[in-house]
């Protein structure tokens, strides 16, 4: 015994503590067989290995019948790697025992084959003490061991013969090896086994509960002796059972040797015995080895020699190999694995039975094997025979039996064992094993209660397989008795597991027991890993029970277990904790631990900082609500604690940088700046933006998703806030370049049956995504933006341009510099559409701080539209216009499309020319040009401007770059009739017109007329005759009040009239012309017409001959210059500035022959206007005055018109001259009057009368001359009729008694019409002496 102990001490486990916990363990793993799958050799690609591993791990559950025919369910847990230290605890918890080893490799040559064999052997060494069996899967070889060549792939199925052979060999090998197995487990022959089982029960050491399994065991072992009868169903299994049978049989032979030697010694002895050159760790030879069989067996030799190419395993290679040509041609893999697992099971089962059969007396001997690694020391010098220790060994054995039973699929049995163990161990204060038993009990209960908790990993992976393969595998798995279905889907397993379980723990008990177990584990420092794992398992169960708080407690406990771990392992630990917290729903907690784990990766104590890992861990912190996608943030508003998020993001940036992925760092920094901007202080904003700028120098931020190594795709981050676009507005082309189209208005009347409806039928709500103007192809288009810079530093946007869809659009990029913290910075984005159609503006792109961002309008929160559509019209010409006149300073905007203006200042009656030059600055010729004049207000403007349309049309088309010009003739129209200082239409001027009001004022001579005018005017007239200058002054002064009503500001300039008109040019050409588009532009014409002359008064005087008359005009020169006025062919007059001059204009009388009645005055006016040619000449200009607007009184009309009656008067036989005639008083004067009718119709009922009066020349007339003269004959005569062309003669005599000046008027008026009066002009002027 001593020696055995010393061997223990010296031999194994220098590292008594397990180095680190297996965080993936579940309670269910207690019931699973552990198989390690290794990747060996470099020829096999990792992907291939992963596939193989997946397929292998799909075989994680097998069902078979034990020797008594009871169904057993065996679970397998496959691991890719398994630390040896864990294995050392396998005695304490048998599920930690690595029972099987599968290595997968690829070989293409003998050398590689040898190498792989060597590696496999080496791999086995690590698990030397626990391994039951191993397989070496080699790809690239045909099943017969020959090299596989890709060409002949038809022979895919592995050779069945070889398989059978191997089975055969394995049996034989079992025969060889079984003794060792037997020795290891202190095994006896079946009969003995059986008897010992019975004996043990009869000895009554165990309680009643204990006796039950022993009986089972006994029956089973007896059944094992008849293997062929029991295990006949499946040929695949029969070899195993056969081998077991052999093994059991042979084991008895070696019994004596086995009883008193430890396994290690025996195996090493054996190995050295059987193979001299064996590798030291060939102790695993006990797992059967067909190749070894091949090498030793002549049969196999011969077989291998048949295939020439067969690779020959090295002589010391004793593992069984499975050859598959490729992964695809390995349909038998699952079957082989099944076979492998079942072989493991049978060994396990035998071990279980062995343990069960241990005699009570021998149990203490087992104590040495039934101990945790760290306990081994404690047994030195211990009295193993003491009662206390015996009980202890007993308890531990029970516990181990429980473990084994659980693994062997006997759940209820294991519960019995565990409970027994708990009883015993409690009494002996063996806390560690008690804890183990408690945990085991919990595990069984969990397996029974929550079978669905098992990982259903393999089934999910199935989807990755190809369809054909799926079918194949399905068939395969269906044909074999085992099933890879997850337990939850298999009703049998549920029904098979649940009902028979008695004493299964209740959920509440589970919690208590786990707690107890963890508490007991906690008493041992060395059991930290076990405790941690137990805590994790407990929390997993509690998560399932939804007892989150309790689960959190266990996890909290796990945190506190102090383990000696490297930084890397610590990281793993925290990461695992975080994962568990996540499952618990404690996301913040999980995030906390993730961050801790991440920090561990790069902690200063860590010799190998792993920045990449740190980064990927930091990325997983969902608890802090960091979203890498900035658009997610905006959906739910802000989330989480900004300070923490900022910190984590900063860490992300830092790790990404340290990792060497500067693009990633830039991306993270961009995200940080973008999302955290509202939460940053001013300084932070500056710092972070500067950091971003520095980072982006190494790798600029691009608006594309970035994939990092671990498959995470970092979405692009667009800096929508830097700069922030407050306003995004499309700018319509300037009005004169705005394309227009003739839209035919469709009659909308028919749409509605109602004459009126309150409902607006036009439901077309203004679509904000549609611009209400068009752009033109090939011309610069603008979008105005107002930018806001939230940073306290000047922001340089080195490129900002539009993003568009639809028609081709050439984008100009702008460089913008936004001052620090400015909130209203305007900028313009420009571009040029290259073809007509619909252009959709979907966003803009910026390049600032080294980050390129593509920002869509729809991602902007305050943007009212997600995009803007604008129609691009075909190309149109563009023109530039110049005029020969100066531009006016200001003009009232009659139209917004005015491009230029011309300001013309002129005098009334003046003519000027304005040349307009049109330059085609567009790219297409101008094919259409139409001019219209747009006038508002004074329609007189139409008189002012004239142009020639023909001239314009003749110049079309105007090619691009060419010019055309035309002339506008400007005439200074205006009212000449009137007063200076007042408007022509002024009532005062009308009323001031002399004599117009009083038709009854008879005297037709100018002086007599003067007497007839009103006092006011008369005084002026008299003054004017005295001094023209003064009269003008008085005119002005007297009329100021009137004028000021019209224009209070400028009484003098009020006479200057402004005329505004817009000359609209409508032009088109090129493609736009064909589609009906055109452009308009306007020239604002501003004409200032100042008066030059005014006709203040006028009158008519009889002319020198009856066919003529004089139009007497008072012409006032209101200019600042001396003016020469031409008023007749040879007559001219100079008028000083400001002076008024009276000019007689000789005119022919107007014939009224064709004029209707009542329109005589109008006809006379026309006659005067057309015939008076009044020219004024100034030093610099000249013009023509018209008498347009002149009005005539009835008397004037008579003068103007040719009188219907021609007078012929003779005095004393002499025809009358218009001069004074002298007579003596008392002298008889004979007067003869002839009236001749000029008209074509006869004049009837005329009354001819004579009227004598005295004119005092002072405006007074004396008509009372009764006593001063006498008329001989009729002074009045009634003429009944004067025929056309005929004449009437009347004679009379006059005698004057008193001397003096007398005048005689001859009047002829119609009898019934008092007002129609024909006079003889001038009156006879008689001087009586």
């Amino acid at each position: 015994m001593r020696s055995a102990v010393s061997v223990i001490l010296s031999g194994s486990a220098p590292d008594q503590n397990m180095s680190y916990p297996d965080y993936d363990q579940t309670p269910h793993d207690h019931s699973a067989l552990l198989v390690v799958v290794r990747h060996i050799g470099r020829q096999l690609r990792t992907k291939q290995f992963n596939r193989a591993f997946e397929r292998i791990s799909r075989v994680n559950q097998i069902k078979l019948n034990d020797s008594q025919g009871n169904p057993r369910q065996i679970w397998v847990r496959y691991l890719r790697g398994y630390p040896g230290e864990q294995n050392d605890w396998s005695d304490f918890q048998t599920h930690r025992k690595a029972l099987g080893l599968i290595s997968v490799g690829q070989c293409n040559s003998q050398d590689e084959f040898n190498e792989l064999c060597r590696i496999h052997e080496q791999a086995k060494v690590g698990y030397a003490f626990t391994l039951y069996d191993s397989r070496c899967i080699l790809l690239g070889l045909n099943p017969d061991g020959t090299l596989y060549e890709g060409s002949h792939s038809s022979d895919v199925s592995p050779c069945v013969d070889g398989e059978d052979d191997r089975v055969h060999h394995s049996v034989s090998v079992f025969n060889n090896k079984s003794k060792i197995e037997g020795s290891d487990s202190n095994f006896n022959d079946p009969a003995r086994n059986c008897s010992s089982g019975i004996a043990s029960s009869s000895e009554g050491i165990g309680t009643g509960a204990e006796s039950l399994p022993s009986e089972d065991n006994a029956s089973m072992s007896s059944s094992l002796s008849l293997p062929s009868a029991v295990c006949g169903d499946d040929t695949r299994k029969s070899p195993s059972s056969d081998s077991l049978q052999n093994y059991l049989a042979s084991g008895s032979v070696e019994e004596s040797e086995a009883t008193d030697s430890t396994s290690e010694e025996t195996t090493s002895k054996e190995s050295t015995n059987s193979i001299g050159t064996g590798i030291p760790y060939s102790s695993m030879r006990e797992s059967e080895n067909p190749i070894l069989g091949l090498s030793t067996d002549p049969d196999s030799r011969s077989q291998s020699s048949e295939g020439r190419n067969s690779l020959i395993a090295p002589s010391n290679f004793k593992a069984r190999t499975l050859f598959y040509p490729t992964m695809d041609q390995s349909q038998n893999l699952e079957t082989d694995i099944l076979e492998f697992i079942s072989s493991l099971f049978w060994v396990l089962e035998s071990k279980r039975l062995d343990k069960l059969a241990v005699r009570k007396a021998d149990r203490t001997l087992l104590l040495s094997s039934l101990c945790a690694p760290f306990e081994k020391k404690d047994f030195v010098g211990l009295d193993l025979e003491s009662r206390w220790n015996k009980r202890r060994a007993d308890g531990r054995l029970k516990k181990q039996l429980g473990d084994l039973s659980l693994q062997a699929g006997l759940a209820s049995e294991s519960i019995t064992h565990y409970q027994a163990a708990i009883e015993i161990l409690k009494s002996v204060n063996d806390w560690l094993w008690l804890a183990g038993a408690l945990e085991g009990l919990c595990s069984v209960s969990v397996c029974c209660m929550y079978p669905q908790l098992r990982k259903a990993l393999p089934l999910q992976r199935n989807s990755s397989l190809q369809g054909a393969d799926m079918v194949k595998y399905k068939n395969l798995s269906g044909s074999s008795s085992s099933s890879s279905l997850p337990p939850g889907l298999e009703p049998e397993s549920l029904s098979g597991m649940r009902p028979p379980i008695k004493n299964c723990l209740s959920p509440q008990d589970l919690l208590d027991k786990y707690r107890e177990a963890v508490t007991h584990y906690g008493k041992y420092r060395q059991a930290g890993v076990i405790e941690t794992e137990a805590s994790i398992k407990a929390s997993l169960v509690l998560i399932e029970q939804r007892q989150t708080l309790a689960a959190a407690e266990f996890l909290q406990n796990a945190v506190f277990i102090s383990l000696q771990l490297t930084e890397d392992e610590k990281m793993h630990r925290f990461n695992a904790l975080a994962e568990l917290y996540t499952r618990l729903g404690f996301h913040r907690k999980a995030a906390f631990f993730k961050r801790v784990a991440a920090m561990r990766c790069v902690s200063p104590h860590n010799p190998h900082p792993n920045w990449a890992l740190c980064h990927s861990l930091l990325l997983q912190q969902e608890g802090y609500k960091i979203s890498l996608n900035p658009s997610e943030n905006s959906i739910f508003g802000f989330y989480g604690w900004p300070r923490l998020q900022m910190q984590v993001m900063q860490e992300l940036v830092g790790t990404a940088k340290r990792k060497g992925n500067s693009a990633l760092a830039t991306k993270h920094m961009t995200l940080l700046v973008h999302t955290m901007l509202p939460h940053m202080t001013r300084d932070e904003r500056r710092d972070f933006s500067q950091q971003l700028e520095i980072l982006s120098k190494e790798a600029e931020g691009l608006p594309v998703p970035l994939a990092i190594e671990n498959g995470v795709i970092i979405p692009p981050v667009n800096l929508t806030l830097i700069p922030y676009v407050k306003l995004f507005k499309l700018i319509a082309p300037t009005p004169h370049l705005k394309p227009q189209k003739i839209v035919e208005r469709k009659p909308t009347d028919e749409i509605s049956p109602f004459v009126y409806t309150p409902f607006n039928r036009d439901k077309t709500v203004k679509d904000i995504t549609k611009a209400d103007f068009n752009w033109v192809e090939g011309e610069l288009c603008e979008v105005n933006v107002i930018l806001e810079n939230p940073l306290p530093v000047e922001l340089k946007v080195s490129s900002m341009c539009l993003i568009t869809e639809g028609v081709k659009f050439h984008v100009n990029s702008n460089v913008i510099s936004v001052p620090a913290e400015s909130s209203m910075f305007p900028a313009t984005l420009t571009g040029k559409p290259l073809e007509p159609g619909i252009l959709r503006i979907i966003g803009y792109s910026t390049y600032t701080l080294g980050v390129k961002s593509n920002i869509r309008l729809k991602s902007l929160q305050n943007m009212p539209f997600p995009y803007v559509d604008i129609e691009v019209d075909p190309a149109l010409p563009a023109i530039e216009i110049q005029t020969s006149k100066a531009k006016s300073d200001c003009f009232s905007s009659l139209s917004d499309s005015i491009v230029t203006s011309a300001s013309i200042s002129m005098l009334m009656g003046e003519n000027q020319e304005c040349t307009v030059t049109i330059a085609n600055v567009g790219k297409v010729p101008i094919e259409l040009l139409e001019l219209t004049l747009d006038v508002q207000g004074d329609k007189r403007a139409f008189e002012i401007f004239k142009w020639s349309d023909e001239n314009i049309v003749s110049q079309l088309p105007i090619q691009p770059g060419a010019n055309a010009s035309f002339t506008i003739y400007v005439y200074g129209a205006g009212e000449f009739i009137g007063q200076p200082d007042c408007h022509s239409g002024d009532s005062s001027s009308v009323s001031s017109l002399p004599m117009t009001s009083n038709a009854s004022d008879g005297p037709s001579s100018l002086p007599s007329r003067l007497g007839a005018i009103s006092d006011r005017l008369r005084s002026k007239r008299t003054e004017s005759s005295a001094s023209n200058r003064s009269s003008v002054k008085s005119f002005m002064s007297s009329n100021i009040s009137v004028a000021s009503n019209k224009n209070p500001k400028l009484p003098i300039s009020s006479q200057t009239k402004n005329y505004e008109a817009v000359l609209k040019l409508k032009y088109s050409g090129g493609p736009g012309h064909q589609t009906g588009h055109f452009r308009t532009c306007g020239i604002a014409l501003n004409v200032e017409v100042s008066p030059a002359v005014f006709i203040t008064k006028w009158d008519t005087l009889p002319g020198d001959s009856p066919s003529q008359f004089y139009l007497v005009l008072d012409v006032c020169n209101v200019t600042q210059h001396e003016m020469e006025i031409h008023y007749a062919k040879t007559k001219q007059i100079l008028v000083e500035k400001g002076d008024t001059c009276r000019i007689p204009v000789p005119l022919d009388r107007c014939s009224l022959t064709n004029v209707e009645k009542g329109k005589e005055e109008f006809a006379c006016c026309e006659h005067i206007v057309t015939n008076v040619d009044l020219k004024w000449i100034l030093p610099e200009s000249s013009g023509k005055a018209t008498l347009h607007g002149i009005t005539l009184t009835q008397a004037m009309v008579q003068l103007v018109t040719v009188s219907p009656i021609q007078w012929e008067i003779t005095v004393n036989g002499e025809s009358v001259k218009p001069e004074e005639m002298r007579f003596e008083a008392g002298e008889m004067i004979n007067v003869n009057v002839w009236l001749r009718n000029h008209l074509k119709e006869s004049l009837e009922d005329l009354n001819l009368s004579l009227d004598c009066f005295q004119d005092y020349q002072n405006g007074r007339i004396n008509n009372r001359l009764d006593s001063r003269f006498a008329v001989i004959g009729n002074d009045s005569v009634l003429i009944p009729k004067i025929g056309p062309g005929s004449s009437f003669q009347h004679s009379l005599s006059l005698i004057f008694f008193v001397g003096g000046m007398y005048k005689i008027d001859f009047k002829c008026n119609k009898k019934d019409l008092e007002d129609l009066e024909y006079k003889y002009n001038p009156p006879l002027d008689l001087m009586i002496q």
Binding site: L549, Q556, F560, K589, A591, F636, Y639, W641
Partner: protein, 183 residues
């Protein structure tokens, strides 16, 4: 010795899509930590930020505890639950009234223990206590919370304080400083 005191606002505005999330409330009421933390703690490397991380991670437990309390109440009063809608509303009254405000130890780090307290208006107080040689008694912790609650009530009585906004009150800070100083 308390090293950190945090006040976390209630949250009622979160969308139910995130039943676990309650920390959104902290947006308008970020956890209030005071400069005294550095003075109170023996570890000078602990910053506000690190305390923030601890407080944040403790909130999960607060939620869980509160939820557990609700469930326990509902389970404990089947009669009330069966009484239907009317009783339900009336049932809220005693529930709130009887709920223990003190939530106990929430979590623990190597050197720190975190205690929680939630008022009936779902204002959460979290106190981080440094584990020193002199263990604090549960009663001391309760006293701290009670003082804190009192101070908070005083603060809420201030008509010029808008609930849910960051706290700027000298008096409140004074109380917290006193708690941190262990007075």
């Amino acid at each position: 010795m308390a090293v950190c005191v945090a006040v976390i606002g209630k949250d009622v505005k979160r969308p139910p899509i995130f039943p676990v999330q309650e920390e959104g409330g902290s947006r308008h009421d970020p956890p209030r930590r005071l400069a005294a933390v550095a003075r109170g703690g023996t570890n000078p490397q602990m910053t506000d930020l690190q305390y923030s991380f601890i407080v944040s991670s403790a909130l999960d437990i607060v939620e869980e505890r509160v939820q557990m309390g609700h469930q326990a109440f509902k389970g404990g009063n089947p009669a009330l639950a069966a009484a239907g809608g009317v009783a339900l509303s009336s049932g809220d009254g005693p529930q709130v009234a009887t709920r223990e405000l003190y939530l106990g130890a929430l979590t623990a780090q190597e050197e720190y223990k975190v205690y929680g307290y939630m008022t009936n208006t779902k204002i959460k107080f979290v106190i981080i206590v440094e584990e020193t040689s002199i263990p604090l008694r549960e009663n001391d912790i309760r006293m701290m919370f009670r003082r804190l609650h009192g101070a908070f009530c005083d603060l809420m009585s201030n008509p010029f304080y808008l609930p849910g906004t960051e706290i700027h009150s000298k008096r409140f800070e004074g109380t917290i400083n006193a708690i941190l100083a262990g007075q």
